[in-house]
Amino acid sequence: MTYEPESMRHADEHASDLLPEYLAGALDDATQQAVRTHLLTCVSCAAELRAWEQIGAVERDRVAETPTPALALLGEVWRRIDMEPAAQPTESRSRPVTFLWNVVTAQTRLLRRSVWVASALGIALASLLAASLGAELGRDGVLTIALPLIAAAGVAFLYGPDNDPGLEITLATPTPARLVLLSRFGLLFAFDVALALIGTLAISLARGESLWGLALAWLGPMTLLATISLALSLFTGPVVAALGAAVAWLASALRFDSGLTLRFPPEALARMTPGILALSVGTLLLAMIAVSRREQFAPVDN
């Protein structure tokens, strides 16, 4: 390689991005030479180099001034190593259940609190609204319309640098990105379903209807829409994904037979069928594959 691919392709290009490495002597010979030649004629890069030299000198001095830590500190290292015989390197892999449990519980701390709060509030509001409406006002429809939307919106904010400031560190751990994604989705989705079931149970008790019948009306679309929103969010970011899922949901409910009307649930999604389940699982797998491809730069050497 003669030049860094992204810089110094031509002698008249500025060398800004390469100057720190040039100063540290960390470039390969040809690039080092190219930067040196460029500096002879470029006033602005030469000025920039002087600024970096100032910073570099301070940093080099700092390292030079650092005292060498005592060899005796190693005693404590051995003590800690001997103290935890269970913590062998392969421990997490050899106990998949413990490992999985640790990964899943760790996500509860990493996810934004607002995602949980907003989901819970949305589901509570939808349940209250459905309970308070009369049958003629379409109370059955409220849960069916709202619950898939709430789940889809929450899921859109699960993953990605916009949503998780600690993601960089998460990706530096040996836990595969797809597993992180799956456990986050599983956690939030289970949380949403549990809350939605509680709301539906209250309504079914008050009306003397079957819980199962009421729940099946929202479970299918909720599952499918949530997985679609998750997959979308990996490509478009959270806001577009949530909006996209909402538009898809409304579009699927459009009917044209006697004028333009909305029908919830859409006929195609009226029940939780094996087909819908398979489609949801397929979408989820797609999202996991996409995230694995994307995060391949995460270190594999640890």
């Binding site: 390689m1 992204e6 800004s16 991005d17 720190p20 490495e21 100063l23 540290a24 002597g25 960390a26 470039l27 390969d28 602005s44 000025a47 920039e48 002087r50 600024a51 970096w52 030299e53 100032q54 910073i55 570099g56 000198a57 301070v58 940093e59 080099r60 001095d61 700092r62 390292v63 650092t66 060498t68 830590p69 060899l71 500190l73 190693l74 404590e76 290292v77 051995w78 800690r80 190593i81 913590a87 062998q88 390197p89 600690g166 960089e168 560190i169 990706l171 530096a172 751990t173 040996p174 730069f297 995460a298 270190p299 594999v300 050497d301 640890n302």
Partner: protein, 194 residues
């Protein structure tokens, strides 16, 4: 990433392989070789010497546990810095150290007409040290690895687990933020002199 010559790093790799196989003498040798470098890196993340020593020890405990998984994609030093990086961030993130308000600095940087490089070139060592100390953890550690440890951008990217473009943009941003912090200090000094 430029390939790392096999011979310069061979000795280290053998040591790491022996450590992975449970050879305590090999870990002792790695510690003796790299304690200074790793400690210097850690001290740029926290001014607390005791905490840095503790993190150094945690780093070598983690090295002992995970040495067998070293895949040889980077130099051993880069890998060690990477382990130290993860240990330190686990702890420092919990402590949530107060940092300079970067948004505020970035605004100053955008508004300030004074040429960036002149301000930096005129700054004294003490002024620069103080300004660097106000940078975020990510900017401080990138500066330290690029200049204190003279690591290529690709190796820094490997150690920190970020793309190489992020390393370069962190360096650019760090310089911009330092300029902003320094113009504020120098500006205040000039005010006092009047």
């Amino acid at each position: 990433m430029p390939p790392i010559p096999a011979d310069t790093n061979d000795d280290d790799r053998k040591l790491l392989a022996r450590t992975g196989a449970g050879d305590r003498q090999a870990l002792t040798e790695l510690y003796t070789r790299y304690r200074g470098a790793v400690f210097a890196y850690l001290l740029r993340l926290t001014p607390d010497q005791h905490l840095a020593e503790d993190l150094l020890q945690e780093t070598f405990v983690a090295v002992w546990k995970s040495a067998a998984s070293f895949a040889g994609r980077s130099t051993v030093k880069t890998w060690l810095i990477g382990v130290a990086h993860r240990q330190a961030h686990n702890v420092l993130r919990r402590r949530a150290e107060p940092l300079a308000d970067e948004a505020e600095l970035a605004q100053l940087a955008a508004a300030d007409p004074e040429p960036e490089n002149a301000v930096l070139a005129q700054a004294t060592r003490e002024e620069l040290l103080a300004a660097i100390a106000r940078l975020s953890l990510a900017h401080r550690e990138t500066l330290a690895l690029a200049f204190g440890h003279e690591m290529p951008a690709a190796e820094i990217a490997e150690a920190l687990g970020v793309p190489i473009g992020t390393v370069r943009s962190r360096l650019r941003d760090a310089k911009r933020l330092l300029r902003a912090a320094l113009s504020v200090t120098l500006g205040a000094d000039r005010e006092e002199m009047r």
